[in-house]
C-alpha cells in the first residue's frame, strides 16, 4: 500500500498551476456595464447590429431566464454565482466582427500563436501530420479512421474561427470553403449575411427556456460559429473554433449552430483555454447541431479551460448545453469530447434521434485532477424507428476530484427497434477522489434493446509493479495504462488531434503518481 500513500503525497503537492495556457493578453477591451438587465441585452444586440427579430428573441429569452432557477441536481459543489457582478460582453477594442487576417490586432495573433493555433492559412493546425503521410495507427482500424485519413490526404487543412472573449476575431479559409458552398463564419456575421438560415434553425434544438444556462446564453450570447453545409456536399476540410477567455470577471457565452443539409458531411472541432486567475469565470455555451436526411456531423471537443490551482482556487465554471438533432432519416451525429480542464464541468452533449434509422454517438474522456469536479454525460432520445445510439464514456479521477457520468437513454412510444449500447468505465488514481455513474434508462416501446455496462477500477499497485518490473518508470506506467484505458475513445478523434490529446492526457495527470 506504500505506493498509494506516495501517490496521495504527490497529489497533495501537485502543481496544477503548471497550466501552460494561463497567460493573459494585455489588450484594451470594450465592456458592457456590469450586471444583467433588458438594457444590457439591448446593448449587446445593438453592438452586433442585429435585426429586430433577434433582439426580440433575446429579450424573450431574458424574461424566461428571470423565471428559471439554477439547476442543483448535479453532483457539484460551488459557491453561488453572482450574476449581477458579471460582465456580459467584452470585446477587444475596435473589433466588432471578423476581419481579414492583416487587420487583426497583432497582440491577438500573437496570443493564438502562443496557444499553438496558427491563424495563417497555409499552416496545418497542430502540425501533427502532413498531408498524405500514413496514419500512425493505420491497421489498428476503427470506424472513424478511414474518414480521417481521407481528409488529411484531401486537404490537410483546418479552417479556424477564433473567438476572443465575446467576439470572433478571424475566420480562416473562408474563400476556399465558399467554393464548396460551405458557409463558415461567426454567428454575428451569419445574422447579417444569412439571417434567414439563422432564423430558421436557431433555438430549434435548444429552445430559449430549455434550462437556466441555455436561457442565459440565449439572452446574452455574444459570438460563436455558424456552419452551413449544403445538400450533398462533403466539407473539404476540418472546421474548428478556438475559444479563448481573456478578460476578467467576464462570462463567455458563445453560441454555435451547425446545419448539415441532406446528404452532407462535416467534421468540426472546438478547443478552449483561459488565463490563470484566482476568480472563477463563467462559461455558458450553447451548441446546436442539425443533421437532415442522410447527413452526418462529427463534433469533437478538446476542453482545456483553466482548472483552478492546487487548492481548488479559481478555474472556469463550465455550464454548457450541447445538443444535436438528427432531423432527417439516416442522419448521424457523433460527439467526441476530451474534458481535461475547468473547475466545474456541467455538460451533456445529446442527440435527438428523430429521423428513422438515425444514429447518435457519444465518446467521452473526462479527466479530473486536483479539486476539479466533473458532472458530464449524454442524452440519447430515441423518437424515430430503428434508431441506434452508442455511448462510450471513460472517466479518470485523480487527486481530490469528483467525476460523475450522468446519462439518459430513452425510447419513446413510436421508437420501434431502438437500440442503445452504453459502456461507462471509471478509473481511479489514489484514494481521495471519486467516480460515480448515474444512468437513467426509459423505454416506452417494448421492442427497444438497451444495454448498459459499467466498470470502476483503480490503477492497482499490482499493475504498476508489473509494469515497473519490466523497466517502465511509474509515470511511464501510468501514462501507458491510462492511454490504454481511453483507447476506444481516442480512436474517434480527428487524426490531427490524437497525438495532441495523448500528450494532454499525460500533462493533465502529471504528479498524480509518485
Amino acid at each position: 500500500m506504500a505506493a498509494v500513500q506516495e501517490t496521495i503525497e504527490q497529489v497533495k503537492s501537485i502543481d496544477v498551476d503548471k497550466y501552460k495556457y494561463g497567460f493573459e493578453t494585455d489588450i484594451e477591451t470594450e465592456k458592457a456595464p456590469q450586471g444583467l438587465s433588458e438594457d444590457i441585452v439591448r446593448f449587446i444586440s445593438e453592438k452586433k447590429g442585429e435585426p429586430a427579430w433577434m433582439l426580440e428573441w433575446r429579450l424573450d429569452a431574458y424574461r424566461r431566464w428571470r423565471a428559471l432557477k439554477e439547476p442543483t441536481w448535479a453532483k457539484l459543489k460551488y459557491p453561488k454565482i453572482d450574476f449581477d457582478s458579471l460582465y456580459y460582453y467584452a470585446a477587444p477594442k475596435g473589433v466588432s466582427g471578423p476581419k481579414s487576417l492583416d487587420e487583426v490586432d497583432p497582440e491577438i495573433l500573437a496570443t493564438y500563436a502562443k496557444l499553438g493555433i496558427p491563424l495563417k492559412e497555409q499552416e496545418i493546425l497542430a502540425g501533427v501530420r502532413k498531408a498524405g503521410e500514413p496514419s500512425p495507427n493505420a491497421g489498428t482500424s476503427g470506424e472513424g479512421h478511414e474518414e480521417a485519413n481521407g481528409y488529411a490526404s484531401l486537404a490537410g487543412k483546418v479552417a479556424v474561427d477564433a473567438v476572443f472573449d465575446s467576439v470572433s476575431v478571424v475566420t480562416t479559409f473562408k474563400k476556399e470553403l465558399a467554393k464548396a458552398g460551405v458557409i463558415f463564419c461567426s454567428i454575428s456575421e451569419a445574422l447579417r449575411e444569412h439571417p434567414d438560415l439563422v432564423k430558421k434553425y436557431l433555438g430549434t434544438v435548444v429552445p430559449q427556456s430549455d434550462n437556466f444556462y441555455a436561457a442565459l446564453n440565449s439572452a446574452v450570447f455574444s459570438d460563436g460559429s455558424f456552419v452551413y453545409v449544403p445538400e450533398g456536399v462533403r466539407c473539404p476540410m476540418e472546421l474548428s473554433t478556438y475559444f479563448r477567455i481573456n478578460e476578467k470577471n467576464t462570462g463567455q457565452f458563445e453560441r454555435t449552430l451547425i446545419i448539415a443539409d441532406k446528404g452532407s458531411y462535416v467534421s468540426y472541432l472546438e478547443g478552449c483555454t483561459a488565463p490563470t486567475r484566482d476568480e472563477n469565470q463563467l462559461h455558458a455555451a450553447v451548441v446546436e447541431l442539425i443533421a437532415l436526411d442522410d447527413a452526418e456531423i462529427k463534433y469533437s471537443t478538446v476542453q482545456n479551460w483553466y482548472p483552478g490551482d492546487k487548492d481548488g482556487k479559481g478555474g472556469i465554471f463550465n455550464f454548457v448545453t450541447k445538443r444535436g438533432d438528427c432531423r432527417g432519416k439516416n442522419a448521424k451525429i457523433s460527439w467526441t469530447q476530451v474534458e481535461t480542464g475547468s473547475a466545474i464541468t456541467w455538460k451533456y452533449p445529446s442527440c435527438i434521434l428523430r429521423g428513422d434509422n438515425s444514429r447518435g454517438e457519444f465518446y467521452s474522456i473526462a479527466i479530473s485532477n486536483g479539486h476539479q469536479q466533473v458532472d458530464s454525460g449524454t442524452k440519447m432520445i430515441h423518437l424515430g424507428r430503428n434508431t441506434t445510439s452508442r455511448i462510450i464514456s471513460k472517466g479518470i479521477a485523480a487527486g481530490f476530484s469528483q467525476n460523475t457520468y450522468r446519462g439518459l437513454v430513452s425510447a419513446h412510444r413510436k421508437a420501434t427497434g431502438a437500440r442503445n449500447f452504453t459502456n461507462c468505465d471509471s478509473l481511479l488514481i489514489g484514494d481521495k477522489c471519486g467516480a460515480h455513474t448515474v444512468p437513467y434508462i426509459e423505454a416506452r416501446n417494448s421492442s427497444a434493446q438497451f444495454e448498459h455496462e459499467a466498470t470502476t477500477s483503480k490503477i492497482s499497485d499490482n499493475m504498476l509493479f508489473y509494469c515497473t518490473q519490466r523497466g517502465l518508470s511509474e509515470e511511464e506506467a501510468v501514462a501507458l495504462v491510462v492511454n490504454g484505458f481511453v483507447r476506444d475513445v481516442l480512436q474517434h478523434l480527428p487524426m490531427e488531434f490524437m497525438a495532441e490529446t495523448q500528450k494532454l492526457i499525460g500533462i493533465s495527470l502529471e504528479g498524480s503518481v509518485g
Partner: protein, 251 residues
Amino acid sequence: MLEIKNLHARIADDGAEILRGIDLVVPKGEVHAIMGPNGSGKSTLAYVLAGRDDYEVTEGDIFWNGESILEMGPDERAAKGVFLAFQYPMEIPGVATMTFLRAALNAVRKKRGLKELTTPEFMKLVRAKAAELGVSDEMLKRPLNVGFSGGEKKRMEILQMSVLEPTLCVLDETDSGLDIDAIRIVSEGATKLRGPDRAMLVITHYQRLLNYIVPDKVHILAKGRIQKTGGKELALELEKSGYADFTGKAA
C-alpha cells in the same frame, strides 16, 4: 552472481515476518530451483528480489554482480537485468502486447545506455522470438494478457523475458495452472535462455517442471529459511517424502 545474505523480510502492512534469514548464492550460468510448501515464503522471495514495496527488508542484503540492489526501485533493477516471470501476470486493457513490449524494451535499453530500436528492428526481433514460443501475430496485437488463457499468459511471460534479455531470471511458479503440453512449451522457452551470463531461479511446488528445466541445484525453503540444498535428485526425494521433514508437520 546473485548473493542473498541473511535476508529477513516482512509484510509492510501488518509486520508479519515471512523471510527469516535466507542465505543463497546463484552463480552466473547456473539454474537453481527453490521448492517448498505453501506459505514457506517462495513468492515473497521472488517479490523481494524484484523490489516490490509491499515487503520491508529488515535485515540482510541482496547483491547482484557485487552490487546491493536493495535501495533500487523495480525499474532500476529491471535495467540491471532482473526479470520476474509472474505467477499471475497482470492484464493491461487497451494496451496492445506489441506496444507494451516496445515500451518496456525501449525503457530498459535507455537505462542500459543502448539506443532505442527502430520499428522495423523491433518488429523483426519480436516476431522471431514470438515464433519460437508459438505466439501468433494476432496475440501480439491483442491487449496484453486480456482474455489470454493460463498457458498463453505464461508463454507471454517467457516471451517478455526473451525480448528484455535479463541476466537474472526469477520464474515464480511458472508451471502453476498449466497442462503438460503448456509446461513443455514454456520450459523449452526458458531452457533456451540458459547461458553462461545468465543466472536463473526457478520457484516451484512440484518436481515435474524440473524434468524440463533441469536445475544445477535444488534448495528447500520452509518457514522462511533454506532448510536443505542438494542436486537435482533432491527434488525426486521430495516427491516421495513430501515436505513434512522440513515443516515439522506430518504430510
